[in-house]
Symmetry: none
Subunit: 254 residues, 2 copies
Amino acid sequence: MDSLRTDAHNGAMSTDLPELHRPDGSPLRILAVDDEQMLTDLLAMALRMEGWEVRTASSGLEALQVAREFEPDALVLDIMMPDLDGMSVLRRLRESGNLVPVLFLTAKDAVGDRIAGLTAGGDDYVTKPFSLEEVIARLRAIIRRTGSATSDDGQSILRVGDLTLNEDSHEVERDGTEIELTATEFELLRYLMRNERRVLSKAQILDRVWSYDFGGKSSVVELYISYLRKKIDAGRTPLLHTVRGVGYMIKAPQ
Amino acid sequence: MDSLRTDAHNGAMSTDLPELHRPDGSPLRILAVDDEQMLTDLLAMALRMEGWEVRTASSGLEALQVAREFEPDALVLDIMMPDLDGMSVLRRLRESGNLVPVLFLTAKDAVGDRIAGLTAGGDDYVTKPFSLEEVIARLRAIIRRTGSATSDDGQSILRVGDLTLNEDSHEVERDGTEIELTATEFELLRYLMRNERRVLSKAQILDRVWSYDFGGKSSVVELYISYLRKKIDAGRTPLLHTVRGVGYMIKAPQ
DNA sequence: ACGGGTGATGAGAATCGTATGATCAGCGGT
DNA sequence: ACCGCTGATCATACGATTCTCATCACCCGT
């Protein structure tokens, strides 16, 4: 498997995406907390690729400590942890007046638990196993919503040529015509669009769009690219390009 | 529940809803008072998502104190509290010439008590357990009524395509035909309409439209969406849209 | 031009998510 | 206390989605 390719596609972006940053222009700070180091490592790498500053913690108590001195703009917080669980961490944070938005990680079947009321505060959660694309998109969303950061554009619409993707409404249209995408197709397209004019390898795409526990072959990527082509490029000037032996790329014609 | 996600919908909205604010343009100030911290926390988070400034207090005496220096535009006030109950707080406020509108919180069975006559003063109350949608809608209502705030639009009518919802009269009509909705259906529709073109997850909807003590599964949301569809979309161009694997959204055709 | 390898795509199976009818419970009004 | 309406739950059917497999087309180096 090609599991350990750490590509840094996003690191040195030069495009003018609706990027988030702190009011003073410095990079966003994220604190990732989980007792499985595999996961905090995975998250840390991915979030740093976004150009963000990352700290990790492996327990609830450590999280509180780090949160105090690091002053993150958002937390990624596992719910189930040995000493102090995620909900308790949230409560203690709020008790001390800290309004930092939190993205919870939770097991798929443990969802019903006590997640109720969470999203009302602007917080959110994703279930394990997650895809990095999902985590990062939701992180962006809660950060944008809580207004702790300034963004270049309040709308969160990505554009490549005459193709637009609205991250809030999930609407995608090309040349004025609306296009229906499935959840996976949407995530794949968003990833490509956020990296316009950058070739992404199948490995990169797999690591980013599919869950970290995905066991299948990387040929699913080819399949989904083909789905996207049918829906987006059909009959029109192609935006999706295959770079043989390297990967895929989206770019506006010309 | 499901894995969804997201949102604090209203936080950084860019749409032109009939938003409330102070005459000088600064955000509304709300003081939430309850001796259960769970509740003040929940309220504080949700109200801040509305873009309002929130302070909390856990007793009647503290409320009076904070009210004096914070000068809120409205109070959310629990009736039953240890030291000084809500009614007494109201009396003292009024005695000192403070006309700030108050939304009382009261236990369902304690309603008969002395609440009668309350609403005559422009105040209002909701019974516990409440839904955030209910609290926020009524807060908006009493603030609007007392004219302590200016709104972009005095009418409080939401529109999505040919569908209109009047928050004051609770009238809903599509294309001129009146539509009868139950209370829950109305709240769900209002929440969706206030977030036109934004996909809302079932988790979000549950957190916002159903009471905070609701223990059931998020499949009720699907059921109520189906009710709304029968009443609103029946035979017509659909306004309600399912975004598979993500949530629901309302939007005008085109 | 050939052949190996890579990518594209159709078909189909397994799974997952959603819609909805039927049923049950609870509350309020009479 | 009864009846009727609203709200919640359950079971089930349907359809969409995802992924594997197989085949076919294509590109490129030799």
